[in-house]
C-alpha cells in the first residue's frame, strides 16, 4: 500500500524520438462513399510542435486527421512520413512511429488501466515477448507522466471522464511514437479537466519533443496550446500559421461565420476570441 505519494519522475515517458518526424499530406482528396469531404489539401506538419486543426462542424478536420493516421484511405493524393507514403509502410512499423487517439474511444468493460496502457505497447511486442523490460518501463513511465500510477489497477469504465481520457493518453504515450495524433482530446470533459489534458499534452511535447497534431473545438484553447494553427472550411485550409497570424476577426468570420472581437489572453498573451452574437455589443443596440 502506498503511504507517501510517488515523487514526479523527471525522466521522459517513452524513448525520446531521435530525428524530427516529417509528416506531410499532398493533394489529398478524401471522401466517405461518394461524399467528398476534403478536396486537394496540402499540409506539412511542423516537427516537434503542437499543431491544432480548427474549423466549424463537418469542415473535414477529423477526416483529415483520420487520413493522416491512415484510418481513411485517400481517393487521391497521399500522406508521407519521412518521405515514404504511409500506405507503403508496414502497419506495425508505422505504429511505432505514429500514434492516433480517436475521438471518445470505448474500453471493454472491466479492463484495467494498466492492461489498457500495456496494449499501447503492442506494436513493440511479439507473441513470445508480450511484456519485456522495455515494455514495463514504458508503461510505468506513461502511467507516471499522466498521473495514472495510483489508478493503474482500476477498471477504465469506473473512472471519471478526465481520468479515463488520461488513461487513453497514457496508452498512446506508452506506444512511444514521435508523432501523436489526437482527435478532440477534450470532448465531454469539464473545463478543469480540459485544461488538465491540454497541459499534459504540452508536457509530452516539451519534455519529450513529440510532434502533436490535434483537432480542437475551442479556438481560445487552440491559441493558447498550439504553436501552429490550421483553420479549415469546407474541406480546405483557409489559413495556417501561428495563432496570432491565423486567429483574426476576419478569419473567424470566414471560417465560423461568426462576428467577433480579438483581444489578448491576459494569462498567455495569445489571441482571445470574444464572440459577439445577436444580442450583445454594437449590433444589439
Amino acid at each position: 500500500m502506498s503511504a507517501d505519494p510517488t515523487p514526479a519522475d523527471p525522466r521522459p515517458a517513452g524513448r525520446v524520438p531521435a530525428p524530427d518526424p516529417d509528416l506531410r499530406a499532398s493533394g489529398l482528396r478524401l471522401a466517405y462513399d461518394n461524399r467528398l469531404v476534403v478536396d486537394g489539401l496540402d499540409l506539412a506538419v511542423p516537427p516537434g510542435r503542437i499543431t491544432a486543426i480548427v474549423g466549424a462542424n463537418a469542415c473535414g478536420k477529423s477526416t483529415l486527421l483520420r487520413a493522416l493516421a491512415r484510418l481513411l484511405a485517400p481517393k487521391e493524393g497521399a500522406v508521407h512520413l519521412d518521405g515514404r507514403a504511409i500506405r507503403s509502410i508496414p502497419s506495425r512499423e508505422l505504429a511505432q512511429r505514429l500514434g492516433i487517439l480517436p475521438q471518445s474511444p470505448l474500453a471493454p468493460e472491466g479492463l484495467t488501466v494498466i492492461d489498457l496502457v500495456n496494449r499501447g505497447r503492442s506494436p513493440h511486442q511479439t507473441w513470445w515477448r508480450q511484456w519485456s523490460k522495455a515494455d514495463e518501463q514504458a508503461v510505468r513511465r506513461a502511467l507516471d507522466a499522466t498521473g495514472m500510477t495510483d489508478l493503474a489497477d482500476r477498471p477504465v469504465d469506473e473512472l471519471s471522464g478526465g481520468q479515463r481520457q488520461r488513461a487513453w493518453i497514457a496508452m498512446a504515450v506508452a506506444q512511444g511514437t514521435p508523432v501523436l495524433l489526437l482527435d478532440e482530446p477534450t470532448t465531454y470533459l469539464d473545463l478543469a479537466h480540459q485544461i488538465d489534458v491540454l497541459d499534459l499534452i504540452t508536457d509530452l511535447n516539451r519534455r519529450e519533443n513529440r510532434t502533436v497534431v490535434m483537432v480542437l473545438h475551442d479556438l481560445n484553447q487552440a491559441c493558447r496550446y498550439a504553436d501552429h494553427v490550421v483553420a479549415m472550411k469546407s474541406g480546405r485550409i483557409v489559413a495556417e500559421g501561428s495563432p496570432a497570424e491565423v486567429i483574426t476577426a476576419a478569419t473567424v468570420e470566414d471560417v465560423f461565420d461568426l462576428t467577433c472581437q480579438i483581444t489578448t489572453d491576459p494569462v498567455s498573451g495569445t489571441p482571445l476570441v470574444i464572440p459577439i452574437g445577436r444580442h450583445h455589443g454594437a449590433r444589439a443596440r
Partner: protein, 366 residues
C-alpha cells in the same frame, strides 16, 4: 540450458516504484520469452484442468457395466483387466473424447467470436453457424444421406457455408462486429425455418433421427467422430492462441487497433475462420449442444475476472460444461440416456443469468 528456477523471474511490477500500487499482474521472463503473468487466471486454468480430468474419468466409470475410478485410470494407460481395457478404450473413450474436444472447441470458438465483436451475443450459436450446420445435417437425414461420416461432413459444410453467407451479407467496405450479429441473427432464423420445414416434410423415423441430432447428443460416438475433431483442434487451437494477442487490440475498437498496427480486416477474417472451423467440427461431431459457446466464455471471464473471455479457460469451461452435462444426462433418469444438449440448455441458461445478476449487483457490469 540455464537453470529454469533461476531464469524464471516473476515479481510484482511495482517493486522498484516506491509507494506504488500493488498490481494483480506480474511480469514473467524466461529470456527471450516474456509475458504478463496473471496468478488468478493461471490458478483458474489449473483448477479447471483438474476438474475436467476428474469429470472425464468419472464419465468413463458410468455405464451398464460399472468400473471403478482407479480401474478406469489404469485402463487408460493400458494396464489392467483386458475386458475393462476394451470397454473403456473402445466403447466409452470415444464418447468422452468427443465431449471433451467438442466442449473445448465450443468454448474457444465462443471466446474468439465474443472478443472479436466485443459482444457476448455474437457467439456462433447466436449468429447462425450451428443452425446452418443443423439445416445441412437434417437435409441429409431427410433426403436420405445418413451415416456417421456423412453427418459430419454435412455439418461441417453447413456451418462453413452459413459463415460465408453471413460474412458476405455483412460485408460493406469491411465488416463490423455489430453488422455480423444482426445479419447472423437473420440468417439463423432462416436456417431454423428451413430445418423445421425439412423435419415436417420428412417421415416419422427421419424426423425422429433429425430431432435426436438437433438437440446435441453424445450417444453412440465412435472413433470415427474423434479423429477429424482431434485433427481440427490440433490445427485450430494453436491458431486461436496465436490470434489471442491481436484480439486484445481489436477489442479496443477498429480505429485504435489500426493505430496500434493491427491489420484489422485480415485479422478479423482469420479469427472468423478459426472460430468457424472450431464450431463446425464440434457441431459435426456432437451436434449443436445448446448454450456452451455462449455461456462457457462468459463463465470463464467472470471466474478469471478479466475484461475479455480468456481463451484457454473458456475452452476448459466448455469441456467441463459438456462433460458434466453428459454425466447428468446419463444418470438423471435411470435406464434412459437424455441428450446432453437438453441438460446444457437447462443448466447453462440459469447459470448465465445468475452470473449476470451477480455481476450487475457488484457494480462491475455484465
Amino acid at each position: 540450458m540455464p537453470n529454469p528456477k533461476q531464469a524464471l523471474k516473476s515479481r510484482p511490477v511495482p517493486d522498484d516504484s516506491p509507494g506504488g500500487p500493488r498490481f494483480r499482474t506480474y511480469r514473467l521472463t524466461l529470456p527471450p520469452v516474456s509475458g504478463v503473468f496473471r496468478p488468478r487466471l493461471v490458478a483458474l486454468c489449473a483448477v479447471l484442468t483438474a476438474a475436467t480430468f476428474l469429470l472425464f474419468c468419472w464419465g468413463l466409470t458410468t455405464g451398464d457395466y460399472p468400473i471403478g475410478f482407479t480401474d478406469v485410470v489404469r485402463a487408460l494407460v493400458g494396464s489392467g483387466d483386458p475386458g475393462t481395457v476394451l470397454v473403456v478404450r473402445e466403447l466409452r473413450l470415444p464418447r468422452a473424447l468427443v465431449g471433451l474436444l467438442a466442449g473445448i472447441a465450443f468454448g474457444v470458438s465462443g471466446a474468439l467470436f465474443q472478443t472479436m465483436t466485443r459482444n457476448p451475443l455474437a457467439s456462433p450459436d447466436m449468429i447462425g453457424l450451428t443452425q446452418g450446420a443443423g439445416t445441412a445435417v437434417v437435409a441429409g437425414i431427410v433426403l436420405g444421406w445418413d451415416g456417421g461420416l456423412g453427418t459430419q461432413a454435412l455439418g461441417l459444410f453447413g456451418a462453413l457455408a452459413t459463415a460465408l453467407i453471413v460474412y458476405a451479407l455483412a460485408w460493406r467496405r469491411g465488416t463490423t462486429g455489430y453488422r455480423i450479429i444482426l445479419v447472423g441473427i437473420g440468417v439463423a432464423w432462416i436456417c431454423t425455418s428451413a430445418t423445421d420445414y425439412l423435419v415436417a416434410k420428412g417421415g416419422r423415423f427421419q424426423a425422429q433421427a433429425a430431432l435426436g441430432w438437433l438437440v446435441g447428443n453424445l450417444n453412440g460416438r465412435t472413433w470415427d467422430q474423434v479423429g477429424p475433431l482431434a485433427v481440427a483442434l490440433a490445427v485450430l487451437l494453436p491458431t486461436a492462441l496465436l490470434l489471442g494477442r491481436l484480439l486484445r487490440t481489436l477489442q479496443l475498437g477498429d480505429d485504435v487497433a489500426t493505430g496500434l498496427g493491427t491489420r484489422v480486416q485480415p485479422v478479423r477474417l482469420a479469427i472468423l475462420l478459426a472460430g468457424v472451423g472450431l464450431i463446425a467440427f464440434a457441431t459435426a461431431s456432437a451436434g449443436p449442444v445448446a448454450f456452451v459457446a455462449l455461456a462457457a466464455p462468459q463463465i470463464a471471464q467472470r471466474l478469471a475476472r478479466t475484461a475479455w473471455p480468456p481463451t484457454v479457460a473458456s475452452g476448459l469451461t466448455g469441456a467441463l460444461v459438456v462433460l458434466g452435462g453428459d454425466l447428468v444426462a446419463r444418470t438423471l433418469v435411470p435406464g434412459t440416456e437424455l441428450p446432453v444438449g437438453i441438460v446444457t440448455g437447462v443448466l447453462g441458461a440459469p447459470v448465465l443469468l445468475w452470473l449476470l445478476a451477480r455481476a450487475n449487483r457488484a457494480g462491475s457490469g455484465g
